[in-house]
């Protein structure tokens, strides 16, 4: 057995998880290899440290006294408590957004943009309630207006600062029954994104139809993946089933099976449309993208 093979198996050796023949071979190697013995000793020390560290981290950790009360409230708010669906997550997410807007705090950064667009669409709640409106105005200094099928208009999308990276696009056509469920700006090294997710509202099952649209600029989004080529409004586009974690649905995962990615460029913006819809519908959605209209609030 080589040092390299031994190194790969050391953790399992220490955890007593090697087969007897593997264990025997490893022991034989260790007898004659001081470097591996030192490595093994270091890993053994680390394992002990990890165990103690984990115990220490949760030694005093207990749920809040009102945990059951909160759960009861959440269960009471569900339409039919025992149904095997995911509908409860949406009101919860939206409620969090409202709570974050009022209260600030750590939840705000993560959730404030989730559901914000939804709220604006669902009934103008955000812009109708003065205290919320003031907070939203503070958060969102770049307003965009758009139309969805059915004549409803949306407003929102905040870049949260003095600068906006680019003007986002929104589909002018969506398959019947899909609605906008999430929007937000995210970043990664070398890229800035605006993201939207569309699905039935509320999302009922893990395999519901969905669209995840990621619009990104920056050096990290340069280039199209390999795949079957099509055209979107005369521009080269690529279909592939190779997805990365960035393409996975963000609200109420998991991403439904059979999802594909359609990638192309609109100017400098790389468009990535991930969906389990038929390809012709994905293309139709892609071809319907129109730039949002920047405004000065609602």
């Amino acid at each position: 057995m080589s040092c390299q093979e031994t190194t790969v198996m050391m953790v399992a050796y220490l955890d007593q998880e090697l087969s007897p023949p593997e264990r025997k071979r490893m022991a034989a190697h260790l007898v004659g290899c001081e470097a591996c013995r030192r490595e093994l000793a270091a890993l053994s020390t680390l394992q002990g440290g990890v165990r103690r560290s984990l115990q220490q981290q949760v030694a005093q950790a207990v749920p809040a006294p009102d945990a059951w009360g909160r759960l009861q409230d959440a269960l009471a708010g569900a339409d039919q408590p025992m149904r095997p669906t995911q509908t409860a997550a949406w009101p919860q997410s939206i409620a969090r957004s409202i709570g974050a807007l009022f209260l600030g705090g750590s939840l705000m950064r993560r959730f404030v943009l989730v559901g914000l667009l939804t709220l604006a669409l669902v009934g103008g709640v955000v812009i109708a309630v003065p205290p919320v409106r003031a907070q939203v105005q503070e958060m969102i200094d770049a307003w965009f207006h758009f139309q969805l099928p059915g004549g409803r208009s949306g407003v929102g999308i905040g870049f949260g600062g003095a600068r906006q990276a680019f003007t986002p696009y929104m589909p002018a056509w969506l398959p019947e029954g899909l609605d906008v469920g999430m929007s937000g700006g995210t970043t990664a090294p070398g890229a800035e994104y605006v993201e939207f997710e569309f699905h039935p509202m509320p999302r009922r099952n893990d395999d519901d139809r969905f669209i995840r649209l990621i619009e990104g600029v920056g050096e990290a989004v340069a280039g199209l993946p390999k795949g079957r080529e099509v055209t979107i409004n005369g521009q080269r586009a690529v279909f592939t089933s190779e997805l990365s974690e960035r393409h996975e649905i963000q609200v109420d995962p998991p991403t439904p099976a059979g999802a594909r990615l359609l990638a192309w460029y609109v100017g400098e913006i790389k468009m990535e449309l991930v969906s389990n819809l038929p390809e012709e519908e994905m293309i139709a959605v892609a071809e319907s993208l129109v730039p949002m209209e920047e405004g000065k609030g609602e």
Partner: protein
């Protein structure tokens, strides 16, 4: 009928007992996966909401309830860490790259606090196997069953996790995991490549991108 069967039959009082009996299991796992008490509280609520909705799908013949509950909890936490990776921030609040941290000289392989900090750099998948193995004392077989992954994957993930922690705690001269944001430039000929490439590289190193 035990508490699980009664809960499956729709007995709300039994579900309250179930919550009381298993809340610490869920909370502690979530705490170790997500770091923050508030995140663990949120996870506790969301996991039990999910349990309430899908308890009917649990089949005792297919495995212990705790295995099923651990699976629901860990999968939820992994998804939370993914969302956190793509956290929704106003764009102008975020810098293009994170500042690499400097390794502290006092870091040692048996320093519980340093280990806790180093664990925050592990991806959700690697962290899950560490928590299940070294906190809950599960065998590799039990971890494989809980996560629904092959035994070999458990071995390789634990090995990757321990190696990543070791590299963070005792960084060799040329490679430190805390240099992860620079990794795409120093070990890749494809400088300025796609974020997908960068993500894959980080996953290989066992770190969140």
């Amino acid at each position: 009928m035990d508490v699980i069967e009664r809960s499956q039959a729709g007995d709300e009082r039994a579900f309250a007992e179930l919550f009381e009996q298993y809340k610490n299991l869920v909370y502690k796992t979530a705490y170790l996966m997500l770091d923050e008490p508030q995140e663990a509280e949120d996870a506790l609520q969301e996991v039990f909401l999910r349990v309430h909705r899908s308890l009917s799908s649990y089949q005792p013949a297919k495995g212990a309830f705790t295995t099923w509950l651990h699976r629901v909890t860990v999968n939820h936490c992994i998804n939370r860490t993914r969302k956190r990776r793509l956290r929704l921030l106003p764009i102008t609040q975020v810098h293009p790259g994170r500042m690499p941290s400097q390794p502290s000289p006092e870091r040692r392989l048996d320093d519980e606090d340093a280990i806790a900090r180093a664990m925050r750099g592990l991806s959700g998948k690697l962290r899950a196997v560490v928590v299940l193995r070294y906190y809950w004392d599960m065998s590799y077989g039990e971890i494989a069953e809980t996560l629904g992954i092959p035994l070999g994957t458990v071995k390789s993930r634990l090995n990757a996790a321990l190696r990543a922690l070791r590299a963070e705690l005792e960084p060799p001269a040329s490679v430190r995991l805390s240099d992860r944001d620079r990794a795409t430039t120093f070990d890749s000929p494809n400088v300025g490549g796609t974020s997908q490439c960068a993500t894959g590289r980080h996953e290989d190193a066992g770190l969140r991108s």
